[in-house]
């Protein structure tokens, strides 16, 4: 191979040429390619039976069709995904799904009831973390072959626990209910692993995009599936570039090297608001920020103290300043904008009322307390604001920040006093959050219900437990919704939590880009309508 002199001199020449001519060194993305800048360091797998991370969940939502779905055209209406229709038995315990005809996987294989049954059984048998979303219906590796079966050309599921069918259908819209191509996955099975090793880095779906490559901490590349059931996506290729640094994301979107930037800070959003080539899209998210008090602590175990804490947060002050545009005040345990939401915000900063409550609780001069929180923005800032307002009532708070991998073990071991943390729904049904916030059937430390927030905070209330179970089982949708709102009201008045904010995600988008849809959970972020 002959290397020309031009290329031997490329380095100094590139500098000289660049300095002399000053031309742009990077081309804008082609019309058929959509490029997004995002921190995707959280992706650790792309197997839908295991994905439980935000970025990974988002990829899955675009590669796989789920059994049930909230489609981008109407994010509030649950419709069939792979399922064309479904019949619910009278007792509400059996649901038979008819599968859409003429639907194919990326491999060309037809989507059948066998694939649906295999996909759900696979989730239960692999038993990865998000499997609880469906194993709560009573499915175990031992019984799942009898409870999830092919019935003629339908996939039939039977639950053994008392659950409202509406909840079951909602749960089957989560990423965990993604339907995989059984033949393709089985072809890559090693030592009976149900394709687990292979599917972490590959895809076998029927969604609008196919996974071309995932290079950890570098990029995810998706290619359009032209035979998708809703028609070919608007762009041929979607590339998600791992750009961890928000400042770099801002530079790239302004230069036109990416079409969308996902992780800009409020001041960066402010900074680009006057750029005519860009627009800002604000999407309400399901993520809630809350303050929780460990009820096993001698001071925080007093409900009056926790009530006082709720009056010692400058909700609006924070929302109007450093959280501007990215968080709004929300004080209930299920996010606003979703079915079952409760939008009352009874608490404002009221130091006098808090002082009176503290005096009533026996702490007229306040006390010392520790707040643990994450070390990433905006948690330290929120903690500092809370620290300042607590001080107005004589409460002397110290703040400790840590990485999630350090903070969560402590939280799960009930070793905190106050913790400022975040929670997002696992699936689009209020049970997802209220089961975690409110339902603690066994408050003993040795019960180790570490996934349950109420247990982590050593708090249980019999009446609330009963209401959560009743709402979970209720067949009448209106009654169900009323029950969930009642539970949220109860939690506002009596619980270890002060729920503070709901996230709004602000994305910077090139003005020629249309059709990016970002719903409340990662299961509802869709690329298929994007055009540019």
């Amino acid at each position: 191979m002959k290397i020309s002199r031009r290329h031997l001199l490329a380095w100094p020449l590139a500098i000289a040429t660049a300095l002399a001519i000053g031309t742009s060194a990077q081309a804008a993305p082609p019309k058929d390619t959509f490029v997004m800048a995002k921190d995707i360091s959280d992706i650790i797998t792309l197997d839908p039976a295991e994905v439980f991370e935000f970025s990974g969940g988002e990829m899955i939502a675009n590669i796989y069709d789920k059994l049930m779905m909230f489609e981008p055209e109407n994010l509030t209406k649950l419709v069939g995904g792979v399922a064309e229709s479904w019949d619910i038995s009278e007792d509400g315990k059996t649901i038979a799904f008819a599968i859409r005809p003429d639907m194919t996987f990326h491999s060309g294989n037809p989507v059948t009831a066998e694939d649906v049954v295999y996909s759900l059984r696979r989730v239960v048998k692999l038993g990865k973390t998000p499997s609880f979303i469906i194993t709560q219906f009573g499915w175990t590796p031992e019984n799942v072959d009898e409870l999830i079966v092919v019935d003629g050309d339908k996939a039939k599921i039977t639950i053994t626990e008392e659950f409202s069918p509406a909840l079951v259908l909602n749960a089957l819209s989560a990423g965990i209910a993604s339907i995989v191509d059984m033949k393709e996955v089985m072809a890559h099975e090693v030592d009976g692993d149900m394709g687990y090793g292979w599917l972490k880095n590959n895809s076998a779906g029927s969604g609008p995009f196919m996974l071309k490559s995932w290079k950890a901490n570098e990029l995810v590349s998706l290619e359009a599936f032209p035979d998708y059931r809703h028609g070919a996506p608007g762009v041929k290729r979607v590339i998600i570039r791992h750009i961890a640094e928000p400042s770099a994301q801002r530079l790239m979107i302004e230069k036109g090297d990416v079409d969308l930037a996902r992780d800009l800070t409020p001041d960066q959003i402010e900074g680009i608001s006057s750029n005519e080539d860009l627009k800002i899209q604000a999407d309400p998210k399901g993520a809630l920020i809350y303050l929780a008090a460990n009820a096993s602590d001698p001071i925080l175990g007093n409900p009056k103290v926790v009530e006082a804490l709720r009056y010692l947060v400058d909700y609006q002050g924070m929302a109007n300043s450093f959280l501007q545009g990215q968080f709004k005040v929300h004080q209930a345990a299920w996010p606003g904008g979703l079915w079952g939401a409760y939008d009352e915000t009874p608490f404002t900063l009221d130091v006098e009322k808090a002082k009176a409550l503290l005096a009533e609780a026996g702490y007229p001069d306040g006390f010392e307390i520790k707040i643990d929180t994450l070390n990433s923005s905006p948690y330290p800032q929120i903690a500092q604001s809370v620290q300042a307002t607590l001080a107005q009532a004589g409460i002397r708070a110290s703040i400790t920040t840590a990485e999630g991998k350090t903070l969560w073990p402590m939280y799960r071991a009930q070793k905190h006093q106050l913790i400022l943390a975040q929670w997002s729904p696992d699936y689009t049904d209020p049970h997802s959050n209220l089961d975690a916030f409110a339902h603690n059937p066994d408050n003993r430390p040795e019960a180790k219900l570490t996934g349950v927030l109420a247990w982590r905070n050593a708090w249980a209330d019999e009446a609330t437990n009963a209401k959560v179970v009743a709402a979970r089982n209720e067949l009448d949708l209106d009654k169900r919704e009323a029950l969930y709102q009642e539970i949220q009201h109860d939690l506002q008045m009596n619980s270890p939590y002060a729920i503070l904010f709901q996230q709004t995600e602000q994305s910077a988008i090139r003005k020629e880009v249309e059709g990016y849809v970002s719903g409340a959970t990662f299961d509802m972020i869709y690329y298929r309508g994007i055009t540019k």
């Binding site: 191979m1 290397i3 290329h7 490329a10 380095w11 590139a14 500098i15 660049a18 300095l19 000053g22 031309t23 742009s24 060194a25 990077q26 081309a27 993305p29 082609p30 390619t33 360091s41 650790i44 991370e53 038993g127 990865k128 973390t129 609880f132 972490k200 880095n201 071309k212 490559s213 290079k215 950890a216 901490n217 990029l219 590349s221 590339i239 570039r241 791992h242 750009i243 640094e245 400042s247 770099a248 530079l251 790239m252 302004e254 230069k255 090297d257 840590a402 990485e403 991998k405 350090t406 969560w408 073990p409 402590m410 939280y411 799960r412 975690a436 180790k448 219900l449 570490t450 996934g451």
Partner: protein, 353 residues
Amino acid sequence: MANTTSRAATGPFLSLPGPVKSILNMLLTLVLTFVGLTAVTFTIGRVMPADPVLAIVGDRASQEAYDKVYTEMGLDRPIYAQYGRYLVELAQGDLGTSVMTSRPVIEDIKRFFPATLELATIATLMGVLIGVPMGVWAAVNQGRLIDHVVRVLGLIGYSVPVFWLGMVALLIFYGNLGWVAGPGRLDVYFDGVVEPVTGFILIDAAMAGEWDIFDNAVSHLILPASILGAFALAYIARMTRSFMLDQLNQEYILTARVKGVSEPGVVWRHAFRNVLVQLITIIGLTYASLLEGSVLTETVFSWPGIGQYITTSLFNADMSAVLGGTVVVGTCFVGINMLSDLLYKLVDPRART
């Protein structure tokens, strides 16, 4: 570490013949270094509060799911047993599987390490080719304007945070002027076009005759390499100046001048040759530190290198990846130091005995 290696050469095996003794000493140093390195990293990984199980199961996992993975990872066994198992696997060339990337650590390293090596090599070359003459020039002109300029530049290059310098450089040369390409190693449209053979994009692109990709890679590389290069340059220039001043004040220099040796001859043949050993150490250490210490530059420029890999893995409690990365960086340290030792013997006759 260079000195450690040298000291080991005088350690055990005194009764053996020279070359055999050297090789055995080298191997002993290598083994001891690795055992020490892995033992310390392993222990830190196990005693730090970050939980490796949560890295896999997530913070919402039930206790059953947590316990299952805890046992699968062998964390229920005593730490010495875990370490012993790691050493056995390491001896078989198995660095484990990364939680973060779901791939064998060895494959990750094959992908991330060349990116860093490419960056660090070019930065070190810039540092040597510009920094050494600058240092010599400043020393020869001690107290004059050029000396002050080199000293101030050295101070700035060494004390300005790389992170800040990177952001400002990106803003000016990429954001405002558009002279160079932005973050990343390549434009995404070129991703996967060239089959990685060496892992060095410049070499792979040149071998494939893909000159558009080569040019694009150069455009991406200029800025981060220059930032790192500025750091290397500042340090090397400063140290060269200091070593040269030391030598230029020696009596043998005066003798050479009295004997009528030309000024360039005094500087380059006499003084410079005597600072070479020290310079080799400095250059070796700079190169090694750039290999593992360029994490901030890698973060700013979204450069998928080993520094970022180790750091992200550490934050994610992904200990197999951290250990694997540490072993590779440790190997580089030892390798560079051994190379320095060999070079000493080439440039300094006293070191050959």
